[in-house]
């Protein structure tokens, strides 16, 4: 074999046994990835690394009636640095890393020295890290500040700046109406307006193609793409809640539940004419103090007790059984229905036997009301159309007491009213007398209030509501009008008698001590002191506790707001509705009355009384347009006419006289009687300097008026 052939064989050896197999291996592997594993990789490409991801839209705000923010979303950012971002050049990195490390240690994280931070970032770059946490939960302004740092300002691709936005729901008023505003939280049942209006508030999420940089940490970066759909911010809800009334209600309630060591309490304030809920406070006991743990106002149906007597008496008045001045025997506050003994809790009752129906209601006599109800509906008669108790139940239904209010909050408890003589509802002989005084049935505080509100509103039953408007950028998209559920729940005569009764409760009944001593305004209402958790053992009733309530409206003559306060299981300092719930009602009512400017007469509605000379502003010196404006606004009569820029008011006997004054240029002006603003204006316009002593109006000046102005310093004495 010659040399040439040997070389040739070796070349062929390489060609056929190295190059060709290598090429085949490459082609084979390409085909293998393409076809054998193809499905898998294509799917992985689509699913894992590029994804159309939704971008959460900013959530709309929830506003109080005056526009205060009850709930809003605040964006915050987790800021990362990608030291190996695709567009980052060695040059950019090296040029900026010193100043970047310096700024980060100066403003963001001072636990490092600039040198250490720099080394840290360089190490991360060496380690091929794709994101280094710079700051968690940065606010928008912090993010805007940090993104201007050197290197970062080159952007995401080139500068490695990554800001991942999320947002946090905040309630600027904290616990105020917290449960009513509600929340949507992971792992918890959504509640309140946030839950009901989730669709409206949530907006429409955007869609953006993103790719994943790290699956484990679920970090996605947006891909430049024209198919991105911008998210649409949610709409805002304007509620009927009045933040001030809410605050007062909550405060008063908090003091009461604390003072009486109760389990929970709730207070609702409603606008009589419209049903707009102005406040809804709920406080429950937690380990960390009082908190809005549950919306008892809407979600808890309880035996109302005495406050229900209004419905009982209205039913009987409607059926024409008696007049308010007819008498009823209350048997000294103790009687028996079948085997059950009924007692009055009112201390008056022990000394009374035969009293008027009105008085029985005023002192909240259980015996009186129960006996009247049994007389009326205990057996069939003409007035109850031979229906017996069924007529009573159908009256209650006319008052809509068997229906929930339909307020815009999830979890409203259904009312429970027994059907007459229904075995399923365990109707017994004692059911009617006990229903008459508010037991063997269940209503939520809001349902009771809605009924009382209808009475206050002259019989017109309106639906309670919380949301008045859906807004976008401050402009209304949808406005919710008050809804009248029933034009007239009872005859005008009955309604006016009911009002008379409720007013009497406050004037001389169980709530007498709540009455305003100075008759600032009158209010009407009914106390309730219901037994809770009672059970009957050996003909004795064991009671776990009481539930104190007060429900009513104010002012009595022209009702503006209705309000209910319920305090469950007070353990200290009394348990009567008038002692526990009543004062809370009074406090809320007082505040609402004072704040309701519509019902007060304006101070300047009448012409002002003439002022004595000593009260008139003598020697008031100043700028004429300002002075005359004030005189006009205060309706102070004066003589003379302002013809110059400056003037003085003088008092002549009992009237004001306007004196015009010329302020010559180049001389020291007379500024006595002026405020400092006018005085300085005049002085400095004439090139004078003023040095000032004291507060108030100018009473003395160190250089006489009329002296030639040459830039002197004038000492002004104010008092």
């Amino acid at each position: 074999m010659n040399v040439k052939n040997e070389v040739l064989y070796r070349v062929y050896f390489i060609f056929f046994l190295a190059v060709i197999p290598a090429a085949l291996a490459l082609i084979y592997k390409t085909a293998y990835i393409n076809y054998v594993e193809g499905e898998y990789w294509r799917k992985k490409g689509k699913d894992t690394f590029v994804e159309k991801r939704s971008i959460e839209a900013d959530r709309g705000d929830i506003l109080a009636a005056n526009g205060s923010l009850l709930a809003t979303s605040i964006p915050f950012f987790d800021i990362y640095f990608d030291p190996n971002s695709t567009g980052m050049s060695e040059e950019d990195f090296n040029k900026n890393i010193d100043s970047l490390a310096y700024l980060i240690t100066l403003y963001v994280d001072n636990t490092y020295t600039p040198g250490a931070y720099k080394d840290f970032l360089i190490q991360k770059r060496k380690d091929n890290a794709r994101y280094v946490l710079i700051k968690k939960r940065a606010t928008l302004s912090e993010k805007r500040f940090i993104e201007k740092f050197p290197l970062f300002r080159l952007g995401q691709m080139r500068g490695g700046f990554i800001a991942q936005q999320s947002s946090e729901r905040v309630r600027p008023f904290g616990v105020l109406a917290q449960r009513t505003v509600g929340y949507i939280r992971e792992g918890a049942k959504p509640v309140g307006l946030e839950a009901i209006y989730d669709q409206v508030l949530g907006g429409r999420p955007g869609v953006q193609e993103m790719f994943c940089v790290d699956k484990a940490k679920d970090i996605w970066l947006p891909l430049n793409s024209l198919t991105a759909v911008e998210p649409r911010r949610g709409d805002d809800l304007k509620t009927t809640l009045d933040i001030n009334i809410q605050d007062v209600a909550q405060e008063a309630l908090l003091r009461a539940v604390n003072y009486h060591n109760a389990d929970w309490g709730t207070a609702i304030v409603m606008e009589v004419k419209t049903g707009a809920v102005k406040a809804m406070a709920n406080l429950g006991r937690t380990e960390k103090g009082w908190w809005e743990t549950f919306n008892h106002a809407v979600g808890t149906a309880i035996e109302p007790g005495s406050t229900f007597k209004l419905a009982t008496i209205m039913a009987m008045l409607e059926d024409g059984y008696f007049d308010l001045n007819d008498t009823v025997s209350i048997e000294n506050g103790r009687t028996r229905f079948y085997e059950e003994i009924m007692e009055d809790s009112s201390p008056y009752s022990a000394r009374l036997d035969s009293i008027t129906v009105k008085r029985a209601f005023e002192i909240s006599s259980n015996v009186g009301l129960a006996k009247l109800a049994v007389q009326a509906y205990g057996q069939n008669n003409r007035k109850n159309k031979n229906q017996g108790a069924a007529q009573f139940i159908s009256r209650l239904k006319e008052f809509n007491l068997h229906l929930s209010t339909g307020i815009e909050i999830t979890g409203e408890a259904e009312p429970y009213i027994k059907e007459a003589y229904s075995a399923q509802h365990e109707w017994s002989g004692t059911t009617l007398p006990w229903m008459a005084i508010g037991y063997e049935l269940r209503l939520t505080p809001l349902q009771i209030l809605t009924f009382f509100n209808a009475v206050a509103n002259g019989g017109e039953l309106v639906k309670p509501y919380l949301v008045s408007e859906i807004q976008r950028d401050g402009k209304p998209l949808q406005t919710f009008k008050p809804v009248v559920v029933k034009r007239q729940i009872a005859s005008k005569a009955t309604i006016s008698k009911a009002k008379e009764l409720l007013e009497a409760v406050v004037e001389r009944g169980t709530a007498e001590k709540l009455r305003h001593p100075d008759s600032l305004y009158r209010f009407a209402g009914k106390t309730g002191t219901a037994q809770i958790g009672y059970r009957k053992v050996n003909n004795k009733t064991l009671i776990k506790g009481y539930q104190a309530s007060f429900v009513g409206y104010f002012p009595a003559d022209n009702p503006m707001y209705s309000c209910i306060v319920v305090i469950n299981n007070p353990r200290a300092n009394g348990f009567y509705g008038s002692d526990v719930a009543g004062p809370v009602f009074r406090e809320i009512a007082d505040y609402c009355y004072v704040m309701a400017y519509q019902i007060h007469t304006a101070f300047n509605a009448q012409p002002p009384a003439p002022l004595p000379a000593r009260q008139l502003p003598n020697n008031q010196n100043g700028y004429a347009p300002d002075m005359t404006y004030l005189l006009r606004e205060l309706r102070l009569p004066y003589y003379g006419q302002a013809n110059t820029d400056w003037g003085v008011l003088r008092v002549r006997s009992d009237s004001l006289v306007w004196e015009n004054r010329q302020m010559a240029a180049n001389v020291v002006p007379n500024v006595v009687g002026m405020g400092l603003r006018d005085a300085l204006f005049l002085m400095e316009n004439r090139g004078l300097k003023a040095s000032v002593v004291g507060y108030g109006k100018v009473v003395r000046q160190s250089i006489k008026p009329g002296t030639r102005a040459r830039g002197q310093t004038v000492q002004l004495y104010l008092d």
Binding site: V3, K4, E6, V7, L8, R10, V11, Y12, F13, I14, F15, A18, V19, I20, A22, A23, A25, L26, I27, K29, T30, A31, I33, N34, Y35, E37, G38, Y40, W41, R42, K44, G45, F49, V50, T86, G87, S89, E90, K126, G155, M157, R158, F211, L223, N224
Partner: protein, 378 residues
Amino acid sequence: MSLLNRINAELKGDRVIWAVVALLSIISVLVVYSSTGRLAWTERNGNTEAYLFKHTLILAFGLALTYLAYLTHFRKYAKAAPYLLVIAVPLLLFTIMFGTEINDAKRWLEIPFIGLSFQTSDFAKIALVVYVAREITRHQDYIKNFKEAFLPIIVPVLLVCLLIAPANLSTAVLLLGVCMCMMFIGRVSVKYIFLLLGLGIVAFALLIFIGEYFPDYVRVGTWASRVKDFVENPQGSFQVQQAKIAIANGEWFGVGPGNSIQRNFLPSPHADFVYAVICEEYGFLGGAFVVILFVLLFHRVTRLVTKGSKTFGAMMAMGLALLIVMQAFANIAVSVHLVPVTGLSLPIISMGGTSVIFSCIAFGMILSVSKHVEATGE
């Protein structure tokens, strides 16, 4: 037809190799234009043409050099070889000491005043291959002699490889492999070739040992993590997975020029993973075509050897072809996950100044040989 005639007259030598050069250049421009989109957006404010023009310009310059190298008689390379090597060794040394670090590797020298960087190993590769070809032919008659023939060959080989290895191990290994193949073809005793391999391994061990103490100079950490990635992660690292997704996306005919999605996720779609982009845009057929182009190149150079056998020209052409083809295959093998990630570019196709230019020069030198082989039938 005058232009074609003109080209015909001008471009002698193996037409097939010319065609390979032309096709690779066309593919290069297409793929680089497509895959630099993201780079353009991040670095040049979306001026996608900036990279296209820059690359086309470099390629045009490279092709001009191809032509120049083709015009130069190959014997001149033999004469120049020792001098080139004498220049290359200090340059490499200089790079290790003062080179610019790009992507954590010191492979580049800034050329003063014009602001371009220059990858010295690209130059050294060609210098070494020419030198080895020259030595093999020079000592052909007593090629099995250890002292007379083998030593003069392997000393520079080991030296150059050792100088390249710290910053660019894959190039060093490639170069060692190319030299071993050349020696095998040049009838150096297989015994000695294995000795060289052994020496290479010893040198590598030494390098790792040094790397423990001078991690800034020797990238032991990077090598280890890449090899570890390859061994431990059957699906490949994030980068390799992106490449596989790209290849799979391409199916038979590809998604079409400029439609690659994966170029956005591949770490350097215009260089290291350019094959994946080709597969995605032009499909399996496109990828296979590129592989076949390189096989074709090697085949044509094999023909030169059959015609010109033991001459220096044939040996040099063989060495350069080995260099180009092995580098190309190594690059592709990374994309299809047959070997760990390396930093080798795909000759001519990948964007990158020095790499393109020296690949072009290598083609020119091969063509120069083919011209003379065809002319003389030698």
